[in-house]
Chain length 308, copies 2
Amino acid sequence: MSDLAGSFENSNSKPLSADAHAAAELDRSSRAVRRTRRASSLGQILANSLIASQRGSTALLRLSRPSKRNALDNAMIAGIENFMSDPPEGTRAIIIYGEGKHFSAGVDLAALSESRAQGGSITFSRAFHRAFDRIENSEIPVIAVLQGAVIGAGLELAAAAHIRVAERSTYYALPEAALGIFPGAGGAVRIPRLIGAPRMTDMMLTGRTYTAEEGMPLGLSQYVVDDGQGIAKALELAEKVAANATLSNFAVLQALPRIARMDPDGGFLLESLMAALTTGDDEAKARLDAFFRTRAANAAHSPNGDDL
Amino acid sequence: MSDLAGSFENSNSKPLSADAHAAAELDRSSRAVRRTRRASSLGQILANSLIASQRGSTALLRLSRPSKRNALDNAMIAGIENFMSDPPEGTRAIIIYGEGKHFSAGVDLAALSESRAQGGSITFSRAFHRAFDRIENSEIPVIAVLQGAVIGAGLELAAAAHIRVAERSTYYALPEAALGIFPGAGGAVRIPRLIGAPRMTDMMLTGRTYTAEEGMPLGLSQYVVDDGQGIAKALELAEKVAANATLSNFAVLQALPRIARMDPDGGFLLESLMAALTTGDDEAKARLDAFFRTRAANAAHSPNGDDL
């Protein structure tokens, strides 16, 4: 993982930000005991294996179970759902990343076997659905930083994020069929939307893997960066995201995917409603006014300055 | 076509496998007379222009009309439907390939004209639909090996397969509009799912063709291999496919494409049901148990061996 992320991995080390408050919060998180309910303070611990921190208006959520390649168990899934249901006040972007060399090697198979023994496979799957649905349907943009293994439910988690930044070490795999199982964390719905059903079919039937660079043109990520650069890139993107009008971001996350799935006739109307609502918003008025003031100021200095 | 495939093209020549039994079966096929009903024995002849053979648990179906670039006529379409309706017992993967330099140059235009003269164009089209639907909805994975011309109904046939392996000589074309006709073998439904409607629109309006290497990133195939390597690659993939749990392969072929087309809400539920059913299956239990035994054995040798 990146040097920047490395600073998160040991919360006694120097944190990402030189900000003394944030440093104190990260230290506090390292001393906190496991809590089942999410705390809304910074540096919160959601489970032993899930740690949240804050940098400005960006919240970072770290999968923190590196000895298991961040395999996802019940506590982590409940923690993700809790965090996404009530992110810290004022958060404008969320970054999800993995501690260590891997994003996530998938579902914790011991937890899966246990759910099976207890006849609760469907409940287990539905808990993943609730948690990842909170990500996909979040009104706050979610950026996933990927590295190393992005396998099974790890890929299903990544697919629920709005933006994926893959470090070069990333590789994608769906080995479920070899184990006799099937994706149960929303991957069968979301992954074909990224890469098409035929490519997912091939990955599942033959065990084929894709690298970060192969995956980007297929749709598995929107960005590929060098190893160690993922968090920095995600923070840079989060800053751009945070600079947009809130209602425009809402429209992108809530309206765009639904319009894409709708009958076009209804989709066009929904688009018009969304466009009219954003245009009528005070924030749009203020931003448009600022644009015209800047143009007028430029026009005073240049004869061609009134180009739009 | 490949050297390996070459061995199939003349069934008196040395067959693909050195296996004496398979060789005998291939010889038998060469002596068989035309039968209207499919025989379930190996080396069956489904039509003069369609020949099936078997290698282990993989069934191979050869389009065998090389003088017509494997143009598809009524007998071949009926043969494909018959074969796919009742594949040989124990078949775990099916490979469809073309004899000679081309996969298929499309519908046999003489047969199309004849159907037109008899007012049976719609019947002709629906027969293609039934046959290719048997491929797409097969519970046994179907791999198409492409080379040379993959034109019109040839591309429509390829699009119905689950995995496409294209040799470098492959080129894709949809020249229907220049002939005043329109795809009638499911291509208007399936090809936009592979490459998007705008790319298919361009191919049809302008006669644009794509090569094997151009086609892969667009979704026309999942693999590109050197000329002559298609059958070997398909057999290698078939072996991986055959090693999966039967119920997982069923889920990939039956559930995945339907989930991809469903309303997401229903799709998530169907995914959970499919995941729970596979997880509860004895084969999954055996495979997960084997996974944990291997992990435990590795852990005895390595302190980090219990990673997922």
